[in-house]
């Protein structure tokens, strides 16, 4: 899931100081789980805006805010509220915000959240970054632990000299990713081959931005 964090409210107020009527758009997926864009947060935002003398013309929590067409269909009943609004505030991730930008060409759209990373929810409201979407997964070579993400230097062939008592040079709160990988390989009895293999430098071309993927087209081509 995509991890988001609320932006500072005063910063948001500065962004929108010239607008008076708002439509609030949330998302029931990641943003709801992060407590940044579910029903509750939309209500809170409405109250906060009204306390600042602003008006809210409507609110809606999209099923999947990053799904452009689905969101467009879902928003149909809100036509009036959307026409009346000066500005759309999106309480989801950056992708959800840009769904609104695509759907409302003539309206200003602002994010209320900062979008942080792709994360695993380890416990309620606790999130860990484990994958940085590098475009060419190497988990098959590293025992299923991602050093590109878990090692601040993204090293591919073992720990740096800064590893101290199994913890990372960069922060004593992080276990060294390479010590974790080494221990896991040992436990799986896969050490020898693992130690003898030099992982080549990463192919960052697989991560060239902006990326897009069209699965359907491929299938159609096959037909």
């Amino acid at each position: 899931m995509i991890i988001t964090k609320k932006r500072d409210f005063q910063e948001l107020m500065k962004n929108i100081e010239n607008y008076n009527r708002f439509f609030l758009l949330g998302c029931s997926e990641c943003a709801a789980l992060c407590s940044t864009g579910g029903e509750k947060e939309l209500d809170e935002m409405k109250v906060a805006l009204e306390a600042e003398g602003k008006e809210v013309t409507g609110t809606f929590v999209a099923k999947t805010g990053c799904q452009v067409l689905g969101t467009k269909v879902e928003l149909k009943p809100f036509k009036d509220a959307l026409t009346e609004t000066d500005c759309i505030l999106v309480l989801s991730c950056g992708a959800g915000t840009q769904t609104a930008v695509e759907l409302f060409e003539d309206k200003p759209v602002y994010p209320t959240n900062d979008t942080l990373f792709l994360g695993n929810m380890t416990r309620l409201q606790m999130f860990d970054e484990r994958c940085s979407l590098c475009g060419k997964c190497i988990l098959d070579k590293t025992g299923g632990i991602c050093p590109i993400t878990a090692c601040p230097k993204g090293l591919l062939n073992g720990p740096c000299g800064g590893c101290k008592d199994g913890y990372c040079e960069v922060s004593p709160d992080i276990k060294c990713a390479w010590v974790r990988i080494y221990e896991r390989m040992k436990r799986l009895d896969k050490l020898q081959e693992f130690c003898e293999t030099i992982i080549e430098a990463k192919d960052w071309a697989a991560h060239a931005r902006p990326m897009n993927l069209n699965v359907r087209k491929k299938e159609e081509v096959k037909k």
Partner: protein, 293 residues
């Protein structure tokens, strides 16, 4: 004789470190380099050591060359991507620099530009592979070069790291990737270092033991607490303490000299790499007391 020939000859090799200053005033650095002239076999020039921005290693290596030193270019993967690294290596080669020490490099968060974007496009093992490739006339992408390099490439190892096994795995990968010599993190426990050497001798590489000059008991304690892979035994700390404030540096010089003497006389390793960290002027004295001058 070049650094590589001296190492091959079996002579006990001595290298020392020069840290480029932050700023364009290089008087003091040149003075230290002058003091070392004719006394050491090669001089390492650090590359933005501890992620603190300074004069680039390449420029200072060239200055060392002009002075008659044999420089070892330290090169970290922190600040350049693979294009920058290869380009700098080709530049070093045409300037006459023959030795390169491949390192990952401390993370920017340790240094004085914490907001910097760290690069780490490749890492030390892969950089060794790159140097190998340039030596045979190809870049990393396999393109043929107009003229190859002739580098003697080295790397670093931390024999007292905890945990040690993953570091040894990396050491072996570095050997496989083409490292010809290693300079170690500071060594203070010679008996323990002997165990590492017993292991390292299985590989066709030369090992220079890192000698970091202890300047006070406080410094020793600090290193034990904060610098990974360094363990100063209590007896040495006591020795520094009992020497008193005034004589602590002198005691530190004695410790370094004693260790170098033992490493050489017992033929434990192939040489030493002296890091005086701010007390570069003391290096000749260390060597004198070690019986090297």
């Amino acid at each position: 004789m070049s650094f590589r020939d001296i190492l091959d000859s079996g002579k006990f090799v001595v290298t020392a470190e020069i840290g480029p200053p932050k700023g364009t005033n290089i008087k003091e650095m040149l003075h230290h380099a002058e003091m070392l002239k004719g006394k050491i076999d090669a001089v390492n020039v650090t590359d933005n050591q501890s992620a603190v921005m300074r004069i680039c290693s390449l420029a200072v290596c060239k200055l060392m060359l002009e002075m008659g030193h044999e420089p070892i270019l330290q090169m970290t993967c922190r600040d350049r991507n693979r294009i920058g690294l290869q380009s700098d290596l080709l530049g070093a080669s045409v300037l006459g620099i023959k030795n390169v020490l491949c390192m990952t490099g401390d993370h920017p968060n340790a240094g004085d530009h914490k907001q910097a974007k760290a690069v780490y496009d490749v890492e030390s093992v892969q950089l060794l592979g790159i140097v190998n490739s340039l030596n045979i006339g190809r870049d990393m992408s396999g393109n043929e070069l107009k003229g190859s390099t002739d580098f003697f490439q080295g790397a670093v190892v931390t024999p007292e790291a905890n945990p040690l096994e993953p570091q040894l795995m990396k050491f072996e990968k570095k050997v496989r990737a083409g490292a010809r010599f290693f300079q170690t993190q500071a060594i203070y426990d010679i008996e323990k270092f002997k165990d590492f050497m017993k292991y390292a001798r299985k590989f066709p590489v030369k090992i220079l033991a890192g000698i970091v000059l202890l300047k006070s008991a406080g410094m020793a304690n600090y290193m034990n607490n904060f610098v990974p892979g360094i363990r100063v035994p209590q007896v040495l700390i006591d020795e520094l303490k009992s020497a008193g404030k005034e004589k602590a540096l002198d005691a530190g010089i004695n410790i370094a000299a004693k260790h170098i003497r033992q490493l050489r006389e017992e033929k434990i390793c192939d040489g030493v790499h002296i890091m005086a960290i701010g007390a570069e002027a003391m290096v000749p004295e260390i060597m004198k007391r070690a019986g090297l001058l």
